[in-house]
């Protein structure tokens, strides 16, 4: 750096500016390159495959260009509509339950009782764990007769523990996956709500007290509106994650019994890696991606409106 002191001021600045720009690109380029290679290139490939009848288990077979045929078949396939219904049921219930439980917990923890951070951490533990391993050991809890879950239910309700099977019954299996997902992810909603609650300055409540607003009124006119943007963000994250849900449910029920818990990703995996209908499943993957992206964009617009209010 000794020579820079010799050069004139504007030139020195120019050298520095130039090297800043080089550094900027050197620093950003590897990330962009990696994302292009491992995310964007495969995505474009998926889109290309979706117009063909390619089968990945027979790479040497001549590939036919089928145009929109795959898309037409997907939109008229009753299996796909069943999958979308199962996914919607799962999404609506997990999000509803997680918002209720998560918000309530955050609201209680915000009373700042003694030792609240340790208990918060314990509540958070399930969401840190591997969903596949969690799903696997919950099949153990759901065993009729010997399972812990069935035992606890029968202990409190008096129902015979071997009389019902959470993952074997067509009516109960959709709830079995909702219960585990809620157990695992309510803490996430809780943490985000807690951040929201903690961001509300005390003076707003103090002003409301001076105006003699009831606690009930304060809750609905201060707490809820102030936490709402945070809550909506938590719902966005959970929505995206659960739309993609695969690992937990595949280990828990494998999509069964029948196809009562066959979520979109599980159906996709079956089409792509068991039936090897690569072209068809690529088209379904594109439809799913566009759906997530579209819904998320609309939602983000709504979220920004709420935030601006």
């Amino acid at each position: 750096m000794t020579e820079t002191s010799v050069t004139s001021r504007p030139l020195r600045r120019r050298i520095r500016a130039l090297s800043d720009r080089t550094i900027a690109w050197l620093f950003v380029a590897p990330t962009i390159f990696l994302l292009l290679a491992v995310n964007i290139f495969p995505l474009i490939w998926t889109i290309r495959l979706s117009f063909t009848d390619f089968r990945a288990n027979r790479p040497n077979r001549p590939v036919e260009w089928v145009g929109l045929e795959n898309y037409r078949r997907i939109l008229t396939d009753p299996d796909i509509w069943n999958t979308m219904q199962v996914t919607a049921h799962f999404l609506v219930w997990t999000i509803t339950l997680q918002v209720l439980i998560g918000f309530t917990l955050a609201w209680l923890i915000n009373r700042k009782f003694k030792g609240n951070d340790l208990w918060t951490t314990i509540i958070v533990l399930p969401m840190m764990l591997s969903p596949a391993v969690v799903g696997n050991f919950w099949t153990f809890f759901y065993q009729p007769q010997i399972g812990l879950f069935n035992y606890v239910v029968s202990f409190f309700s008096g129902v015979d523990p071997s009389s019902f099977s959470m993952i074997g019954s067509v009516n109960l299996a959709p709830w079995a996956i909702i219960i585990v997902d809620t157990w695992m992810w309510s803490p996430f909603v809780m943490l985000i709500c807690l951040a929201g609650l903690r961001s509300i300055p005390d003076y707003i409540y103090e002003a409301a007290e001076i105006d003699r607003a009831s606690k009930w009124r304060q809750f609905w006119t201060i707490t809820i509106p102030m936490v709402l943007p945070f809550l909506m963000l938590a719902v966005l994250f959970r929505g995206i994650e659960n739309f993609k849900m695969f690992d937990l449910v595949v280990q828990l029920t494998g999509g069964g019994p029948g196809s009562t818990t066959e979520l979109a990703s599980i159906n996709l995996k079956r089409e792509a890696f068991e039936k090897w209908r690569t072209g068809y499943s690529s088209a379904f993957a594109v439809i799913l991606f566009v759906t997530v992206f579209g819904l998320a964009s609309i939602y983000v617009k709504a979220l920004n409106k709420v935030k601006d209010r």
């Binding site: 750096m1 090297s19 550094i23 900027a24 050197l26 950003v28 990330t31 962009i32 990696l34 994302l35 491992v38 995310n39 290139f41 495969p42 995505l43 998926t46 495959l49 990945a56 917990l105 209680l108 009782f113 609240n116 951070d117 208990w119 918060t120 951490t121 314990i122 509540i123 533990l125 399930p126 764990l129 591997s130 596949a132 391993v133 696997n136 050991f137 153990f140 809890f141 065993q143 010997i146 035992y151 985000i192 929201g196 005390d202 409540y205 945070f230 963000l233 993609k244 695969f246 595949v250 280990q251 990703s265 996709l268 995996k269 792509a272 690569t278 993957a285 799913l288 991606f289 998320a296």
Partner: protein, 312 residues
């Protein structure tokens, strides 16, 4: 502000505290049960009613780490005395240990791939985050959104071409392939989190260093990095947890050499589907490091989760 009118009353605190503690106990129960099941014998693990008190046994752990074969009592009688407690346990069940199981290898794969991809994500992520935080980059907001949007993709949606691509490049079932893949998934989060942390470091520190004759790169290494250390550490934990827990890509792209523990653990159950103590032992060994991490580093972790939300 202490003792202000908005401070919750003592009674409120007690009620809220008890409800939260009750929920915490219910939520932790399945995890405690897994821990206990790992130390039960086969019959104890599936007894009705479920056993809370039992004679602890290392059988689950022995079964987890070894492969065994059944032997007749006559065969057993001809063998020399058991060398260690594992031998003893196996023989009590009429089995002979034939060698180590694959669990050790799978666990090691998880460690290699987890730490490898975390290191790479943090290395690349810190560089990009610094550039995004400090320099004028054309289309900066678009690039940042692009980086984030790659996280919205369902893994299975890109798994098909990645599967084909890896097959062509010879990256299927390799450590390198999995490390690159997990890095690509983690880097979006890493860039966003780290940019937040680096934004918080006052620019004046670097400017002072630049005036003192440091080059931009030296200022980055000697001034910015030490300041961002806490942020880097908590981001690293998130990346590690993701890579450690990932299942969808692992089950599709690995089968042998590079298979990680999550796709392996469910297969421990064995013939007849009854060896729950071994599964529980595997789950315990796999999940315990994460639980301990979470409890020890709770301040940084909890901040990291809410960071994105608070920031935007």
């Amino acid at each position: 502000m202490t003792g202000s009118i908005t401070e919750p009353s003592a009674r409120q605190k007690t009620v809220a505290g008890s409800l939260v503690i009750l929920y915490a106990i219910i939520t932790i129960l399945p995890l405690v049960w897994i821990l206990m099941t790992g130390f039960k014998t086969g019959p104890d693990s599936i007894s009705y009613p479920p056993k809370v008190f039992f004679q602890p046994s290392m059988e689950g752990y022995v079964n987890l780490f070894t492969s065994r074969t059944r032997a007749t009592p006559e065969q057993l009688a001809t063998l020399p005395a058991p060398e260690n407690f594992a031998d003893q346990i196996a023989r009590d069940r009429g089995m002979i240990i034939t060698g180590p199981s694959k669990f050790g290898e799978r666990f090691l794969n998880s460690v290699i791939i987890g730490f490898g991809s975390t290191f790479l994500s943090i290395f690349l992520g810190t560089l990009s985050a610094y550039a995004f935080s400090r320099f004028k980059i054309p289309l900066k907001d678009d690039l940042l959104f692009f980086i984030l949007s790659t996280r919205m993709m369902p893994p299975i949606a890109v798994a098909i071409p990645i599967f084909l691509m890896y097959r062509t490049l010879g990256l299927s079932d390799t450590h390198l392939g999995m490390i690159l893949l997990y890095t690509a998934v983690n880097i979006s989060l890493a860039v966003w989190l780290l940019k937040g942390f680096i934004d918080e470091i006052p620019r004046e520190y670097e400017e002072a260093a630049l005036i003192d004759g440091y080059s931009r790169f030296q200022a980055f290494v000697k001034v910015v990095l030490p300041q961002a250390a806490t942020g880097i550490a908590s981001t690293a934990i998130f990346c590690l947890i993701f890579a450690w827990n990932e299942y969808a890509f692992a089950v599709l792209l690995t089968s042998g050499t590079a298979q990680t523990a999550p796709p392996f653990i469910p297969t421990i159950i064995g013939v007849g589907g009854l060896d729950w103590p071994a599964v529980a032992a595997g789950a315990t060994i796999f999940l315990l490091p994460i639980m301990i991490f979470t409890i020890l580093l709770r301040k940084h972790l909890l901040r990291g989760i809410t960071f994105g939300a608070v920031r935007k």
